[in-house]
Structure formats: structure tokens, C-alpha cells
């Protein structure tokens, strides 16, 4: 950040610009040639991407090759032959994605709170990136959950509490994404408010959904008494999706940041009459 602005034209551009009174942090960033390359995450990202790739592959191998096919057991230990079998593999993907959905709500809420407090757009980028990824992850949760419900209970959607909760959180995130897209110049503020309110609402949604669980959910019985192979496969896939989520989010943050920097530079250029 404190790297002296070596190339003269850019330094002049900042100093002579009408927006010269911006935050020092902003100036320093704008005066750097290639912001993305210079970011402290520059080296971390490729390494993380490779690690995430390896873990995703390992998880896939473990899930499909190593972990035995699950014979569905009911809560009292009877073999529930008709329902699960290969479909149970969905579980590894479904829950991994769901964790990320929940994590994203927390990340977006906290980053938005810091953004509102400090008005540093860095934090807003993080919230926006987390929500962007979470919208995709949430869609995966809902689709896999729906497939699971069809296999286990023979309905596409049965308002199973955790699935309902995922849906409600996902709706908040989709709302956030819509606000970001359509609220114009004040989109960052409005969206930050929505993320904070959404995060505070989570315990209420949790409580509400828990009280409202009408269908008997067999999932508890199936999930809780897993053998070691299942647990390893589950842990691996959860880790894989965590890494994958982090890699995607960091990339998204960097691209958002680069977009903003280009926009700011362009505005400065326009103000100075360098660009037209």
C-alpha cells in the first residue's frame, strides 16, 4: 500500500485531480499500476486454487469410490431398502454447500457492518462477493435438497426445517443481489443494510422453522449414525467446498475491486480531461 508512486503520469493524475482529497488509502491504491497483481493475496490465490482442486478431487474419489453405498436405515435401525442407496451421495454435496450458504450470510453481515461503520469499500466488496457465491451455492443446496427429498420421502419439496431455512436465507441473499444490481449509486448502502438485518434475522428464522417442522424428517436417523468411511467422505467434501468457496470469493473480491479501481481511474481521467 505504501509503495511510492513511481510512474510519473499517474502520480500527477492523482495529485492534480479534483478528487485529490480522497482517503489516503484510496489514493495509494489508485496510484498503483496493476492493483490485482499487487494485492497481498496475489500468491495465496494460485496456491489455494491448486489445493482446493486437489481436495475437491480427493473428496470426489472418496465419496464415489471409497465410501460404501448407504443402505437407508430408519431411526430404529431397520433396513429401509427402498429409499436411499446411491442417492445418499447427494448428502456430501448438499451439506457442504449448505455450510457455505450459512457461512456466507455471516460473512456478508459482518463485512457489511464494518463497511457501514468505516465506509471502506474494501469490506463492501467482500460482502458482495460472499453473497454472489452464496447465491450459487444456495441454488445447489435447494436443488440437491429437492432431489434428496424426492428419493427419501418421494416428494420434491416437503418443507423440511433445514431445507426451509436454506430457502429463506437464499431468498435474503437473492434480494441482496437484486438490490446490488438495481439500486443505482446507493446500492452499497442499501445492500449492506439488508445483509445486516438478514444476519440478525437468522436466529429468528432458525427458531421459527424449528417450531414449524411438520413432516417427519428421516434425515436425522440417516445422518447421525454414519460409519467412519462416511464421516471421512463427509469431512473431506465439507473441506473441499470450504476451500472452493474461499477461492471463488477471493477471486470475486479481486475482480470487483479491479472493476471499481478502473471506474475510479476513469472518473479521474474524465475529470482531468485526459480521457474523453
Amino acid at each position: 500500500m505504501t509503495k511510492p508512486a513511481s510512474d510519473v503520469p499517474e502520480a500527477r493524475l492523482v495529485e492534480g485531480g479534483k478528487l485529490g482529497g480522497d482517503a489516503p488509502d484510496d489514493k495509494a491504491r489508485a496510484s498503483k499500476g496493476a492493483p490485482v497483481k499487487g494485492s497481498p493475496l496475489g500468491l495465496v490465490l494460485p496456491i489455494m486454487t491448486i489445493v482446493a482442486g486437489i481436495v475437491v478431487a480427493a473428496a470426489a474419489w472418496w465419496v464415489f469410490v471409497k465410501a460404501p453405498v448407504q443402505y437407508g436405515y430408519t431411526a430404529d435401525g431397520r433396513l429401509n431398502g427402498s429409499s436411499l442407496f446411491f442417492t445418499q451421495k447427494i448428502f456430501y454435496f448438499h451439506v457442504g454447500h449448505a455450510f457455505m450458504l450459512f457461512a456466507a450470510v455471516g460473512v456478508a453481515g459482518i463485512a457489511s457492518a464494518i463497511f457501514l461503520k468505516t465506509r471502506n469499500p474494501k469490506w463492501d466488496d467482500i460482502a458482495a462477493a460472499a453473497v454472489d457465491e452464496a447465491v450459487m451455492f444456495g441454488a445447489a443446496v435447494l436443488v440437491t435438497g429437492s432431489l434428496w427429498a424426492k428419493a427419501a420421502w418421494d416428494v420434491w419439496w416437503n418443507w423440511e426445517p433445514r431445507l426451509t431455512m436454506s430457502l429463506l436465507l437464499w431468498l435474503i441473499l437473492v434480494g441482496y443481489a437484486l438490490v446490488r444490481k438495481f439500486a443505482g449509486p446507493s446500492a452499497d448502502r442499501v445492500a449492506a443494510g439488508m445483509a445486516i438485518f438478514g444476519m440478525v434475522g437468522v436466529p429468528f428464522i432458525y427458531k421459527m422453522v424449528g417450531e414449524d417442522s411438520h413432516p417427519p424428517s428421516g434425515a436425522n436417523g440417516v445422518v447421525m449414525n454414519l460409519g467412519t468411511e462416511y464421516k471421512t467422505a463427509f469431512g473431506l467434501s465439507a473441506l473441499a467446498f470450504l476451500l472452493w468457496f474461499l477461492v471463488l470469493t477471493i477471486m470475486r473480491v479481486q475482480s470487483t475491486r479491479a472493476e471499481r479501481e478502473v471506474r475510479e481511474l476513469r472518473e479521474r481521467g474524465l475529470d482531468l480531461g485526459v480521457l474523453s
Binding site: 429463506l168 437484486l178 442499501v190 449492506a192 438485518f197 440478525v200 429468528f204 414449524d212
Partner: protein, 226 residues
């Protein structure tokens, strides 16, 4: 002058404007009445179905009228840029927010006061069997809608697509409130009314309102100031 008294003055200012024009109350009450008419044609009218559907009808009506009223009330502050004047006024911004939320609650409650008897009358729904409990839950629900709604209606004041975005923001955030309200009302109008369940959800709503009151007070200023 204390924060609450200032809030009261701001609320009274809003209500006095409304009392002079009666624009929001009259249009919203008419809108709610139209909704009740549509309900009576859209849903089966036998007693059993009505017992199941009436709670949802009431809360959907409150949600719809609430968002429309919020949008219109804050439009008034936008038209002459009076929101800026309000925020510049030498009072804490907390009182501006509280005053706005208070006035909104009063307006939406005025609609509820008409909508509930209308639903009970036209649909023959036993909504008025437990008037005290129903009043408490409606008041708590309306307060919650007004709190969260005022924060976001004020934040969206300068956004061009605010009319579309307000429900997009509010409804996902208010789902727990609507569910709690519907559950309470359902417990009250059920064939065998269950006051325990009703009070559980009323307490839930109370905690919900308290949490979002604190959050609104905390975020209002930084959300509204550009």
C-alpha cells in the same frame, strides 16, 4: 427535550399531514377492502377453509398495505427534499427514525382496524373471538413492519426503483414476523383455540421487535446518510 418527545413531535407532524389530506389512510383502507373482496371470491367460503385461510389473508393484507403505505409516506419526504431538512434538524437522528416508525405504525394500524372486522364480517371468520390477543399480535406485527420498513424506505428514498425494491428487501427479512403473526392468528381462530401457542408466538414477535428496534436504531443513521 427528550428523544421520545422529539420523536412524538415528528410522528405528530406526519400524522397531521395525513389528517389533512387523508390520502394514505383512505386509499389503503379501500385497498384492504378490495383485497377482502378478492379473497372472498378466490378462496372457498366454507367455515373450515376460512378458519385455515383467514390468518394468512389478514397478514398478507397487512404486508401489502404496509409496503404501499411506507412507500407513499416516504415519497412525501422526497418530493420537496424534506428528508434532508429532517436529518439536518437539531434533533438526534434516533428521534427522526422513531418518529417516522411511530407514524407508520399508526397508519398501518388504522388499516388493520378496518381490515380485521371486514374479514370477520364478509368471510364469517371468527377473528374477533379473542380481541385482546389479536390486538396484541397485530400491534406487535405492525410495529415490526414499521421499524424495518422505515429503515429501508428511508434508505431507498433516492433510488429510482424503490417501489420494486422495498418489498424485495422487506419480505425476505420479515418472513419470521409474518409466520409468527399467522401462527398466532391461526391458534386464535382454530376450532379449538390454543392460547399457549398464541402466546408463544406473541412472545416470539416481542423479541423480534425488540431485536430489530435495537438494530434499526443502531443502523438508521449510517444507512440514511449518504
Amino acid at each position: 427535550m427528550s428523544v421520545l418527545r422529539q420523536a412524538g413531535r415528528i410522528a405528530w407532524k406526519d400524522l397531521r399531514i395525513e389528517l389533512r389530506s387523508k390520502e394514505i389512510v383512505l386509499t389503503m383502507v379501500f385497498f384492504a377492502a378490495l383485497l377482502c373482496v378478492i379473497y372472498s371470491f378466490a378462496f372457498p367460503r366454507d367455515v373450515k377453509a376460512i378458519r385455515g385461510a383467514a390468518p394468512g389473508m389478514l397478514w398478507v393484507a397487512l404486508a401489502f398495505t404496509g409496503t404501499i403505505a411506507l412507500g407513499r409516506a416516504f415519497d412525501r419526504e422526497r418530493e420537496n427534499d424534506t428528508m434532508r431538512a429532517l436529518l439536518l434538524a437539531p434533533v438526534p437522528r434516533l428521534s427522526v427514525f422513531l418518529g417516522k416508525a411511530l407514524a407508520m405504525s399508526a397508519l398501518i394500524l388504522a388499516v388493520a382496524v378496518v381490515a380485521v372486522p371486514l374479514l370477520a364480517l364478509w368471510l364469517n371468520a371468527p377473528l374477533l373471538d379473542f380481541p385482546a390477543e389479536l390486538a396484541i399480535v397485530v400491534v406487535l406485527g405492525v410495529i415490526g413492519i414499521s421499524l424495518v420498513g422505515s429503515v429501508f424506505a428511508a434508505t431507498l428514498l433516492k433510488v429510482r426503483s424503490r417501489d420494486v425494491l422495498l418489498p424485495v428487501i422487506l419480505y425476505p427479512l420479515l418472513v419470521p414476523l409474518f409466520v409468527a403473526g399467522t401462527k398466532t392468528t391461526a391458534a386464535l381462530v382454530a376450532e379449538v383455540p390454543n392460547l399457549d401457542i398464541a402466546w408463544y408466538w406473541i412472545r416470539f414477535l416481542g423479541v423480534y421487535d425488540a431485536a430489530f428496534l435495537v438494530l434499526s436504531l443502531w443502523t438508521f443513521e449510517s444507512l440514511v446518510i449518504e
